[in-house]
């Protein structure tokens, strides 16, 4: 399997290099002048690289405010990248692929005033993928069935559906534009567990049937683990660790990834009396110097406070930004210090 992934990675569906995006969140000009405040720039995405393997799934993981949704919006064209390169591989038609998106909130992602049929038909009409009433009707019905709904559901309004069903409609809408690349921004975080499983399964089977490529955004490591081939962990706008899924879980190198793994409650293996790791997520407006994780890192030293760690590649395919890992030649930070 790992050889397979490497093959695909050789021709990634999406190649992102040095992507940056910042937002000017400074106070209005007058305030700055009078209160002698400086311009405030929120570096939402700070120089990140990643490849999304064709037909595979790359996940971006991190807590709120880490920039993962910004990446999703850049990839789908909702935001214009400030710097960096973003290249889609050619799709079946020979044109570069375009990305479609599945959103987090199943209640906000469908226009409540539109019937489901029209919601799904919108891409068909906009992109002129089908013409003629009957052709559109047939295609919509087909899509409804693909996502596990019935054609009769097209005549209803979104509020008549449960959260899971709405997310299916969202998926159908995304599929209507015949994308090869789907960005999924926390598609299940608003759903109940049993429904989440349905949606995740559906997405997996669609990937297999249609050869879709996913960029999957989530804060939930267990969901990510289930879905992805590679995982990139983001912290304050940067990727701190990126590795094939199994590698990441087997050899968690970065202390932040370790923190996430430690704090996520696990039903099957509850670590009840784990030590409390303190600290709060720093404001992305004012990230700490050096390695931005150093205030919360048990292994931080002076170098971490001053020097921003670069990404280093390990031989098992992992890429990590941590001085400890670098110093120890690829051994996970925790083990390196303990050793």
């Amino acid at each position: 399997m790992s050889a397979d992934i490497k093959d695909r990675a050789a021709a990634p569906a999406l190649k992102v290099r040095g992507l940056c995006k910042s937002f000017d969140v400074s106070a209005p000009w007058l305030n700055r002048v009078i209160e002698r405040r400086e311009r405030q720039i929120l570096r939402a995405v700070d120089d990140i690289d990643f490849d999304v393997p064709r037909g595979g799934c790359l996940s971006l993981v991190g807590e709120s405010g880490c920039g993962k949704s910004t990446v999703a919006r850049i990839v789908t064209g909702l935001h214009r990248p400030e710097r960096g390169e973003m290249r889609f591989a050619p799709g079946k038609s020979g044109q570069p692929m375009t990305a479609q998106m599945i959103f987090q909130d199943p209640y906000a992602s469908l226009n409540a005033r539109w019937k489901v049929f029209d919601v799904i038909a919108e891409p068909l009409r906009e992109l002129k993928l089908r013409s003629g009433k009957q052709a559109i009707r047939d295609r919509v019905n087909e899509l409804l069935e693909v996502v596990g709904l019935s054609p009769a559901d097209g005549a209803k309004y979104p509020h008549e559906f449960s959260g899971g069903q709405r997310q299916r409609i969202s998926i159908a809408r995304a599929l209507a534009s015949e994308p090869e690349f789907l960005v999924c921004d926390e598609p299940t975080s608003a759903l109940d567990v049993s429904v989440q499983a349905q949606i995740l399964n559906l997405m997996r089977s669609l990937q297999d049937e249609l050869g879709l490529t996913y960029l999957f955004i989530s804060h939930d490591l267990s969901v990510v683990r289930h879905m992805s081939d590679r995982i990139a962990v983001m912290y304050l706008g940067r990727i701190v660790e990126e590795a094939p899924t199994e590698v990441l879980f087997a050899r968690t190198r970065h202390p932040y990834t370790q923190l996430l793994l430690d704090t996520i409650p696990d039903v099957r293996n509850p670590h009840r009396d784990r030590p409390l790791r303190g600290g709060e997520v720093p404001s992305p407006l004012n990230p700490p110097s050096g390695c931005s994780f150093h205030p919360r890192c048990p292994f931080a030293d002076d170098r971490c406070k001053q020097e921003k760690p670069g990404l280093i590649s390990c031989d098992d395919g992992a890429v990590v930004a941590c001085h400890r890992v670098e110093e120890s030649g690829g051994i996970p930070a925790g083990e390196a210090v303990n050793a």
Binding site: A27, P28, L30, N31, I34, E35
Partner: protein, 322 residues
């Protein structure tokens, strides 16, 4: 904070300039003041001389700046109708209107807030629904109808209160008040009620809406879960949280009320600014119309700005956010 105040002030100045322009435009649109001033026998030569004397031959921007400059010094020219300095005319009537408006505001607060609370906490009960229904009637009855009815019932049929005017007034420098004489107070009752009726229903409905909104918030539920007694939740937590919009609206509405008072003043022959304005309108007394417009807007803008600023001072969330 300072910036916020500054911004509000800049905004206020901007609005006032725009209003001043409107007032200035009244003269331009309304026609030639010379035609209004000249009597029939005036010759063309005299007319031209008059036009020149009034500066009407200057370019528009010059005229506008002169208008603004004069207005800032409180000079709006002379009333065509009364041959009197406009600002003096308005100042003379200002106390009458202010007294009426302030008393009406007071009445509306004193009556409106408790009624609003009552309808909110008794939602669904007969008395709350009844009051709510009354309040719809209150907003629906035109002010002039209310005034006429009050006069009919309380002055003509029952003879309890005077039907017009302000009664005896006592002067303090340029301010004249009717509050110190029995006849002045008696004369104030009906107009103040008539003017406040609409305001009462507004406040009552606002308090009700705000209370209902606040009462469904998590922090109210949490306060209940903390074992805070109902009356304390209503009057300390909920009321305090919804007073802000009420006070805001009341303060902002003082401006609107001053303007609205012109109907009440017309019906009750109350010698205030509104009556002056209405008479100016029927006589096309442009200087008075323009001055009234500018002054009302000024009061309006000053109140709005003050409310905005005090808002930022009072609300702890806004304080640090700015």
């Amino acid at each position: 904070m300072l910036v916020f105040i500054l911004k509000r002030l800049v905004n206020a100045v901007f609005v006032m300039m725009a209003v001043a322009f409107l007032a200035f435009a009244i003269f331009q649109v309304a026609g030639d003041p010379v035609e209004m001033l000249a009597n029939e026998q005036m010759s063309q030569v005299d007319r031209d001389a008059l036009r020149d004397r009034m500066g009407l031959n200057d370019p528009m921007p010059v005229q506008f700046m002169r208008f603004v400059g004069n207005a800032m010094q409180g000079d709006f020219g002379m009333s065509y109708r009364n041959n009197q300095d406009v600002i003096g005319l308005i100042a003379e009537r200002f106390p009458a209107t202010m007294e009426l408006v302030l008393v009406a505001t007071l009445i509306s607060l004193v009556v409106g807030i408790p009624l609003g609370i009552l309808t909110a906490i008794g939602r669904g009960r007969w008395y709350a629904e009844g009051l709510q229904f009354l309040s719809i009637i209150g907003v629906s009855l035109p002010s002039f109808v209310v005034g006429i009815m009050l006069i009919l019932v309380f002055s003509v049929i029952l003879g309890w209160s005077p039907s017009f005017g302000r009664g005896e007034v006592v002067d303090f420098g340029w301010w004249s008040t009717g509050l110190l004489t029995p006849s002045g107070r008696a004369a104030l009752v009906l107009p103040a009620i008539s003017l406040s009726l609409y305001q009462i229903t507004l406040i009552m409905r606002l308090v009700r809406a705000e209370m209902l909104e606040v009462l469904r918030t998590d922090f109210i539920k949490f306060a209940r879960a903390r074992g805070i007694p109902r009356h304390r939740i209503w009057f300390r937590h909920a009321l305090r949280n919804c007073l802000m919009p009420v006070v805001t609206m009341t303060a902002m509405n003082v401006g609107a009320l001053i303007a609205f008072a012109l109907i009440t003043e017309t019906v009750f022959q109350w010698p205030g600014m509104g009556m002056l304005f209405i008479q100016a309108v029927t006589f096309l007394d442009f200087p008075v119309m323009a001055a009234y417009l500018v002054i009302i807007s000024f009061i309006f803008v000053v109140l709005n700005t003050m409310v905005d600023i005090s808002y930022a001072i009072i609300d702890p969330r806004l304080r640090s956010a700015r």
